[in-house]
Amino acid sequence: MKIKLTVNGLLYERDCAEHTTLLRFIREGLGLTGTKEGCGMGECGACTVILNGHAVNSCMVLAAEVDGAVISTIEGEAQGPSLSDIQKSFEKHHAVQCGFCTPGMVMSVKELLVDNRKPSTDEVKEAIEGNFCRCTGYTQIVEAVMDLTGQPDGKGELEHV
C-alpha cells in the first residue's frame, strides 16, 4: 500500500507492506536510523517518536495505521551543526553515555515540554518512565531537563523506592 507521512517537516510518500511497523518504516523505508529498536515490545522506549503530538513506541504502531500523520524523530532536532536546546542540555549535563536510549529520551522530553514549561522532577520522571537507560543516567537526564526549564536547583536524585 502507499502511505504519506510528514516526518520532521518533510512529506514522504512511499510504498509499504501492510504488516510493517512504523519503526521499521522510519528506519528502513526512510533511512532515518536515529530511532532505535530495543525490546520491540513497548518496554524500553528506544523507539519513541512523536506521532501527531504524542510520544509513542513506534515498534507497536503499524505504518499503515498512521497514513497522513505528522511525526517527529531525533533527526528533526539539530538544525545543521546546531543542536536543539534539549540536546544541548543533555550534552551539558552528561545525560548521555552509550547513547542508545537518547533519541527516545529526547522525544519523550520534547512532548513533556510542549504543554509543561516548568515540570517538577516527578513530572520529568513520569514522562521518561517508559524510557530505559541501562547506563543508569536518569539523574543527569532529569537535571538536564530541570536546567533547561530554568530550574537549575531542581535536582533529579535517583530515589530507590
Binding site: T21, N57, M60, L62, E65, I128, E129, G130
Partner: protein, 270 residues
C-alpha cells in the same frame, strides 16, 4: 515484522461489523496495538487480517451526557486523563488510568483494549467494576449491553464472541463523584505490571472494592459495609479472590498485600 497480514480500516461501524462477521476465525481487531502487535511479533497470535477499529467516525469520542461518560473504542488511556469530564466527575477512573504502563503506552493503549484483552492485571477493569460501568457490544446482527461485573469470563476471556466488538464503554452518571484510590503493587516505581492491585471507592455511603492480579479475572467485592472492621473487610475481600504464585509474586505475598491495602484504603479514602 516478518509475519505478514492484511490491514483493513473500515470507515463506518457497520462496515466494521460486516468485516468482523466475515473474518470470525482469521481476523483480529487492532485498537491501540500495545498488546496485539507484540503478540503477533512473538508468534502468539497469527491473524490473517488485522482490522483497525480506530478509523471510523466517532470511534475516538469521549463525551459526558445524561447516561454518563461514553468512551468509543479508539479512546486512549491518556485521552481519559486529558478529558475534563473524566477528571472532574470520575477521579477514580483517572486514578486507575494513571497507574497503567508508561506514558508512551498510555498515549496509544485504549480503555476498550485494556478490558477486551481481559488480563487479570487490567488496571482499568477495577475502576469500571467499582463505578458500575457497562459494555455496549455490537455485531452485524445487533447490539447488547453487558455490565462489567458479567463481562470477564476467565484469563484473557470475555463474553465477546467472534464477530462482536466493544463499541462503547458507558460509566453511569450516577457514579459521578465517587471517590477512591487504586493501590497497585509493582516491582519498580516506573511502569510495570501489577503484582496485585486494590481499588476502593466510597460513594453515597456505599463501599466497593475491586482487585486486579488476584484471580482469573479482575474481581468486584461489594459486600463490605461501613460497619465492618478493617479485618472483617479484608476477610471479605480475600474470600472473593484466589491469587496464584507466578514470576511476579507468590500467593502468600499477594494475600498479605491485599489485606494491607484494604486496611490502608479504609483509613485513607474519605
Amino acid at each position: 515484522m516478518v509475519y505478514e497480514f492484511r490491514y483493513l480500516a473500515p470507515r463506518t461501524a457497520s462496515e466494521l461489523a460486516a468485516l468482523l462477521d466475515g473474518h470470525k476465525t482469521d481476523g483480529k481487531i487492532l485498537a491501540g496495538g500495545t498488546d496485539l502487535i507484540p503478540n503477533i511479533r512473538n508468534g502468539l497470535m497469527k491473524p490473517r487480517v488485522v482490522i483497525d477499529i480506530k478509523k471510523y467516525e466517532g470511534a475516538d469520542r469521549i463525551s459526558f451526557g445524561s447516561d454518563g461518560l461514553s468512551m468509543g473504542p479508539a479512546v486512549t488511556i491518556n485521552d481519559v486523563l486529558r478529558s475534563k469530564d473524566a477528571r472532574e466527575r470520575y477521579p477514580v477512573l483517572c486514578g486507575c488510568a494513571h497507574e497503567l504502563a508508561s506514558h508512551q503506552i498510555r498515549n496509544r493503549a485504549t480503555v476498550t483494549g485494556n478490558v477486551v484483552n481481559a488480563s487479570p492485571c487490567s488496571d482499568m477493569a477495577p475502576a469500571l467494576l467499582c463505578l458500575g460501568a457497562s459494555a455496549v457490544i455490537r455485531s452485524a446482527t445487533g447490539e447488547r449491553i453487558v455490565p462489567f461485573s458479567q463481562f470477564f469470563a476467565g484469563v484473557k476471556k470475555t463474553v465477546l464472541v467472534p464477530g462482536e466488538f466493544l463499541e462503547r464503554i458507558v460509566v453511569p452518571a450516577a457514579s459521578a463523584g465517587a471517590v477512591g484510590r487504586y493501590m497497585k503493587l509493582k516491582r519498580i516505581a516506573g511502569h510495570d505490571l501489577g503484582i496485585v492491585g486494590v481499588l476502593m471507592t466510597r460513594h453515597e455511603g456505599r463501599l466497593r472494592f475491586a482487585v486486579s492480579s488476584a484471580a482469573p479475572t479482575p474481581v468486584l467485592v461489594d459486600t463490605v459495609t461501613e460497619k465492618d472492621s478493617p479485618d472483617e473487610a479484608a476477610r471479605k475481600v480475600l474470600a472473593a479472590v484466589s491469587p496464584i504464585s507466578d514470576v511476579r509474586g507468590t500467593r502468600e505475598y499477594r494475600v498479605h498485600m491485599i489485606g494491607v491495602y484494604v486496611r490502608r484504603l479504609l483509613a485513607e479514602v474519605r
